[in-house]
C-alpha cells in the first residue's frame, strides 16, 4: 500500500529572491519517475518538509518544462525558516500535489478578474500563466494586486510582461509607499481599485487569494457591484498538518480546506468565512 505520509525528496535547483523575506525555490523530485508522472493544476499545493523540523503547505506557483516545481515561500516560522537555511543543491521532503485547483475549464470564455493580496499571488500565478498561454480561450483579464509596500510584492520580474498582455488591465496597489515606487503602484487597499475596474460582472468570474480579511472585504465589494456569489472563487488558508483530509486541522464548517479546497466557490462557504 502506498503511504501518503512519506515525503519524496526534491533537490533545490535554484533560489530566486523575491522580497526581503520571500524566495522562490525551484524544486525537482530526485526520483525521475516521480518527476515524470507529476501533473498539477494552478491552485494546488505541496507539503514541503524539512525532516526534524516539520511540514508546511506551500502553493505551486508554476511548473517548468522538466517538471521542476516553483514554490514561493515567505519565511515566517519554524519550517519556512529551515527551508531558508538550505542552499542550492540541498534536498528537502516534498509530497503532493493536493487540493482542488482553480476551475480553469469551467471559466473558459469568461472575463477573468484576479484579486490578490501579498503572498496570495502565488497560487494565482499559475492562472495568469495559463491565461497568457491560452489567450484566445478567455475574455478580458484584469489583475489587481496589492501588498503592504511595493517592496513586499512577489513576482516583480513579471510585472512588465503582465502589463503587455493583450486585452488586459493590471493594477498594482500598496497600503503605503515609503521608499521608491518602481512599478507606479497606487496607494490604498485592493478594493480601492474596484471603482476603476474594467471588468463587468455580467460575463466575468472573480478569483481571490490573500489574507482572509482582504478576501472578505473584496468579496463583499464585488457583491455590491453585482457579482453573484457563484461567480466568485477564493483560495483559503488554514493550518495544515496532513494535507490529505485526515488530521482535521484545516476544517472550516463542513469542509476540509486541504481536500475540498483550498479553492472554494464563495457561494458554498460564505457562512463559514470567519472563525469556524
Amino acid at each position: 500500500m502506498m503511504n501518503e505520509y512519506y515525503p519524496n525528496f526534491a533537490i533545490i535547483k535554484e533560489i530566486k529572491k523575491e522580497t526581503i523575506n520571500t524566495n522562490t525555490f525551484v524544486l525537482k523530485f530526485t526520483d525521475q519517475k516521480i518527476a515524470d508522472k507529476f501533473s498539477w493544476k494552478p491552485g494546488q499545493f505541496m507539503m514541503l518538509s524539512v525532516l526534524g523540523v516539520g511540514e508546511s503547505a506551500i502553493s505551486i506557483s508554476s511548473v517548468e518544462n522538466d517538471n521542476s516545481i516553483n514554490a514561493t515561500i515567505r519565511n515566517v516560522g519554524n519550517v519556512t525558516n529551515s527551508i531558508f537555511s538550505l542552499k542550492k543543491g540541498d534536498s528537502l521532503g516534498m509530497r503532493g500535489p493536493y487540493g482542488t485547483g482553480w476551475p480553469l475549464e469551467k471559466i473558459i470564455g469568461k472575463d477573468i478578474l484576479i484579486v490578490a493580496g501579498g503572498m496570495g499571488l502565488a497560487p494565482l500565478y499559475g492562472v495568469i500563466n495559463h491565461v497568457i498561454r491560452n489567450r484566445t480561450e478567455y475574455g478580458h483579464l484584469e489583475i489587481i494586486y496589492g501588498a503592504r509596500t511595493p517592496e513586499n510584492m512577489v513576482f516583480k520580474d513579471e510585472f512588465s510582461k503582465w502589463k503587455r498582455i493583450k486585452n488586459s488591465t493590471f493594477f498594482l496597489t500598496a497600503d503605503e509607499i515609503t521608499r521608491e515606487n518602481p512599478f507606479e503602484c497606487r496607494t490604498g487597499l485592493v478594493t480601492s481599485c474596484f471603482p476603476m475596474m474594467k471588468t463587468h460582472h455580467r460575463n466575468a468570474i472573480a478569483l481571490l487569494c490573500g489574507p482572509e480579511i482582504m478576501m472578505r472585504f473584496a468579496a463583499k465589494c464585488l457583491e455590491t457591484i453585482g457579482f453573484a456569489d457563484k461567480k466568485i472563487y477564493l483560495s483559503l488558508e488554514r493550518r495544515m498538518k496532513c494535507g490529505i483530509g485526515k488530521c482535521g486541522h484545516c476544517q472550516i464548517g463542513l469542509k476540509y480546506v486541504c481536500k475540498d479546497g483550498p479553492v472554494f466557490n464563495y457561494d458554498d462557504i460564505k457562512p463559514f468565512i470567519r472563525p469556524l
Binding site: 503511504n3 512519506y6 483530509g245 485526515k246 486541522h249 481536500k259
Partner: protein, 347 residues
C-alpha cells in the same frame, strides 16, 4: 450464520483458545474504573462493565503513533518504515464502541488510505458484547449505536443469564471458533436475547432525535448558546466550557491529530509522530505570525459540537455514538444532549 451458546463457566475455554493464538485485550478493572487492556487469563476479564474512560479507539489510533523514522546524513535523508503486524482480539467491546470503530473505518479509508489505521484494523478481530447495563449517560439508542449490536462484529456475545449467546458475524469470526465444541442456540436462547435487548433499551433515559442533529449544525452558527457555553453561565445547568479537551480525549470518534518531528541529541536520527489533538485547545487553529482561526472558546466548543452533530469529516452524518463519555468527564458538566435540546427549543 449459526448461533451458539456457551455456559458462563466455560468462557475460559473460549478465551484460552484465543490466548494461544492472539494478544487479547478486554475490559479489566484495575482500580475504581474499567479500561480495555491486555488480558492474560480469564481472571483479568471484567465483563460486567458499564463503560471505560478511554475508548478502544486507542488500539487503532493510538494517542501517539510514529509515522516513520528518519536518518539525516550529510544533507541526505533516509526514511525507515515502521511495521506493526501484531494480530489481536478485542474482547467484550460494547456496541457503541464498535459503531465508533465503524465510523472511523469510513473516515480512514477514501482516496488517501491511512495505512497505520488500516493495518491495525486488518489485524484485529472484534468480539463484541451486547450492553445489558447501559450507564446513566448513555444515549446510544438515539444514535442507532446500541445498546445491542447488529453489524461490525466478528463474534457477538449476549449475556443470557447463565449462558452467553454466541453469534458469528464474519468469516474471521467463524474461523477463530473452529474446533470448539459449542452447542447450537435454541429458539428459546434467541428469545431470551430479544428480552434482554428490550430490558436494556428501557434502561436508557437519555433520548434525542438524531434526524435533526445535522440541521442544528447548519442552522445555528450564530446562536447565543455558543456564547453561553463559551463565556457566560453555561447551558442547561452546566458551567462554561474550560477548553480542557477532556471530551476529545475520551470520545471514541474524535480523530483529529497533530503531526510533529522529534530528533535525538545527535540531530541525526528522528521520527515523525502523530499525536491525538483536540479542537478545544487554543493551539489547534494557530498559524504562523500569531494568527488563530478559532481564538474564542465559543468558536471551539461550537466546532466540537457541530462535528458530533453532523459536520464531521465533511459529512452530514453525526459522528456521535452516544456513549456518554464526554458527559461523564466534563468538569463543567456540559451535556451534549442538553445542548442539542436547548438549541432545538430556542430555534
Amino acid at each position: 450464520m449459526a448461533s451458539y451458546i456457551i455456559d458462563k463457566k466455560d468462557l475460559k475455554i473460549l478465551l484460552d483458545k484465543f490466548l494461544k493464538e492472539f494478544k487479547v485485550y478486554g475490559p479489566i478493572k484495575p482500580g475504581l474504573d474499567s479500561s480495555v487492556d491486555e488480558i492474560k487469563s480469564i481472571d483479568d476479564l471484567h465483563l460486567e462493565y458499564k463503560s471505560t474512560i478511554i475508548s478502544p479507539k486507542k488500539f487503532f489510533l493510538p494517542p501517539k503513533d510514529t509515522l516513520f523514522e528518519f536518518k539525516i546524513q550529510k544533507g541526505n535523508y533516509e526514511i525507515k518504515e515502521i511495521v506493526n503486524d501484531e494480530k489481536f482480539i478485542l474482547f467484550g467491546l460494547h456496541p457503541c464502541d464498535v459503531n465508533a470503530i465503524l465510523k472511523l473505518d469510513e473516515f480512514f479509508s477514501g482516496k488517501f488510505k491511512d495505512k497505520y489505521y488500516q493495518n491495525r484494523r486488518k489485524n484485529s478481530i472484534i468480539i463484541a458484547l451486547n450492553c445489558t447495563q447501559p450507564g446513566e449517560n448513555s444515549f446510544c439508542k438515539s444514535m442507532n449505536a446500541g445498546p445491542f449490536l447488529y453489524k461490525g462484529y466478528d463474534i457477538l456475545l449476549t449475556d443470557i443469564d447463565t449462558k452467553y449467546l454466541i453469534e458469528i458475524g464474519s468469516d474471521k469470526g467463524k474461523k477463530i471458533i473452529q474446533g470448539l465444541k459449542l452447542n447450537i442456540a435454541s429458539k428459546n436462547d434467541l428469545l431470551k436475547k430479544e428480552k434482554k435487548c428490550k430490558l436494556a433499551n428501557k434502561k436508557i433515559k437519555k433520548i434525542l432525535d438524531p434526524n435533526w442533529l445535522p440541521k442544528l449544525a447548519e442552522e445555528n452558527l450564530d446562536h447565543e448558546i455558543w456564547i453561553d457555553l463559551g463565556e457566560r453561565g453555561g447551558v442547561a445547568g452546566s458551567f462554561p466550557c474550560l477548553s480542557c479537551g477532556s471530551c476529545s480525549l475520551v470520545c471514541p470518534t474524535c480523530y483529529c491529530y497533530d503531526i510533529y518531528d522529534t530528533v535525538d541529541l545527535s540531530l541525526k536520527n528522528g521520527s515523525r509522530v502523530r499525536e491525538l489533538d483536540s479542537c478545544q485547545l487554543l493551539e489547534y487553529g494557530q498559524v504562523a505570525l500569531g494568527g488563530n482561526f478559532r481564538k474564542d472558546r465559543k468558536d471551539r466548543i461550537r466546532h466540537w459540537m457541530f462535528c458530533k452533530f453532523g459536520a464531521a469529516a465533511g459529512s452530514k452524518n453525526s459522528s456521535c455514538v452516544g456513549c456518554g463519555r464526554c458527559i461523564r468527564v466534563c468538569p463543567s458538566k456540559i451535556d451534549i444532549t442538553k445542548v442539542a435540546k436547548s438549541l432545538w427549543r430556542k430555534k
